[in-house]
Amino acid sequence: MSMKDLKFWQGVNQALYQEMERDESVVLFGEDVAGPGGPYGLTRNLHREFGPDRVRDTPISEATIVGMGIGAAAVGLRPVVELMFFDFCMLAMDQIVNQAAKYRYFTGRPLPLTIRTMSGSGGSYGAQHCQSFEAWFGAVPGLTVVMPSNARDAKGLLKSAIRSDDPTLVIETFGLLTARRQTPQDPDFLVRLGRAEIRRSGTDVTVVATGRMVDRALAAAEQAAVDGVSAEVMDLRTIAPLDRATVCESVVRTGRLVVAQEATSPFSVAAEVCALVSEECFDHLRAAPVRITACFSNVPTPPDLVEARAPSVADIYEAIAEISRT
């Protein structure tokens, strides 16, 4: 099938274009998504292509953006709503968690709602624009949460989210918007929700990574290979429901776990993965699991501080080397 080298943002844009073309019940709204084509261009051309009824600029009303998505989905549309930054989800938590996530439980009906947002550092926007609390939503029954790490998955997961009959939160990563990956052009290309991907196979240690840390984990694994250490690198891709089987199968083989994420450590996705593995793979573990995360502080603004705070390739490499010695 035909492939194209796409940037992450282009993958998102293609997914929206293809799904809107495929199904006229798909509508898109959020702040600056229509006329401007999105503050970072992710929704470029959609307003022109699909018109003002299907692509709308909203006022700055995050709770109502999500709530309107719920109402519109409840009466037959398949809305994709955008919350510009993850940090702004905090203004819509009630609609996401108390309303959208529980709609099927309360009504017995589907709620085909996709909520797109963007998290993580990389934009030098500081402590109120770069937070990574994806774990919050993983704790909520009724929500599917995905976090693509590249253009291909950004496209395939978003398309699956839009076609899903349940509310799905798609967390894009600011620091990856211009990262490239070969991406299938087939309009029916999908990436299945709930499946982690082994990006590199290995036998000595499993490195589970999310978002921006996936490429860094791959680079670290290459370095480790030079030392003769064989690291398996897994991109979690879906945060909830977690792909427990793929994670455990890998760790049972390697006996060692490193989790790398851009979020801070306490009460995070890395915590859940370590807990899962310690419960399910205990007898196979040869060493203590390790979390490689941002240090527990607020996200600063200057890029060098942002980088100093986030895990580097070297941090992951050292964790791989260290754990492989035991």
């Binding site: 009303s61 709770a63 109402g71 549309l77 809305p79 439980y105 009504t107 009906r109």
Partner: protein
Amino acid sequence: MAELATLYRGLRLCRRFEEVMAEQYRAGTVPGPLHLALGQETTAVGVCAALRRTDVITSTHRGHHHCLAKGADVDRMVAELLGRRTGYSKGRNGSMHLADPDVGLLGTNGIVGGGLPIATGAALGLRTQGRSDVAVCFFGEGATSTGNFGEALNVAALWRLPVVFVCEHNRFAELTPSSTHIAGDVYRRAEAYGFPGERVDGADVRGVLRAAEQAVARARAGEGPTLLEVMTYRWSGHYVGDAAAYRDKAEAAAFRDGDPVAALRAELAGLEADAIDAQVEDLLAGALERALAAPTADPEDLG
């Protein structure tokens, strides 16, 4: 305009449904809390008489009357409140989470103001699909102090959405009077967003219906939202079991004396009224009997 008899039957059903459920609550057969709308029936019945089945509504924690007026199934409502597997949600959720999308009931809601953006979005969805249906958002006056209120009114006005905001002003929010919650007049908030707001006397179901018909007509015609503030009074406490010691007994008594349901009944021929009452009693007695005979909610159904 809907007939007197139809309106009375609607009011009577809401009234008796809640009285019967309150008895059940006291008898210990209702597993969750009950917030009663006794005395407020005209809001639900008057407004819903202006709607058709395909129109949608969002309701609140105090929403039995909205559900009934929109045509929810009495058997399934009673069963849900009694925590029975034959209820709307298999008896798992009770009064605050009743929904029946088939009759346009998107749900009661445990979050004050939670329905405001949802009804607004439903209106958007209906319009986008080229339907002439409208959305009605019921909420209490306490919800006018939530952030959702201003957000929803603004978007509904900007996009001229077919939504009617119905504020059921029953003078209390939980244990405090409206004066604790509202600066200025609720109905006047609409003007600030450039659409009409009207205060309506909840004692007169036909007045409520007339106002609703106008608002619904505007919405269907694409002229945008309307805010109706229906002045009513919460006869009972916040929930069954709340003695409501915090309120003025004389005031409460006065409102009970001006019972809008009794007033309408008085306009009907005695026989017709008796027949309606009897029919409502049968309906509720049957629903209650079937519900009590049904199995209780099953842990199997946790979801």
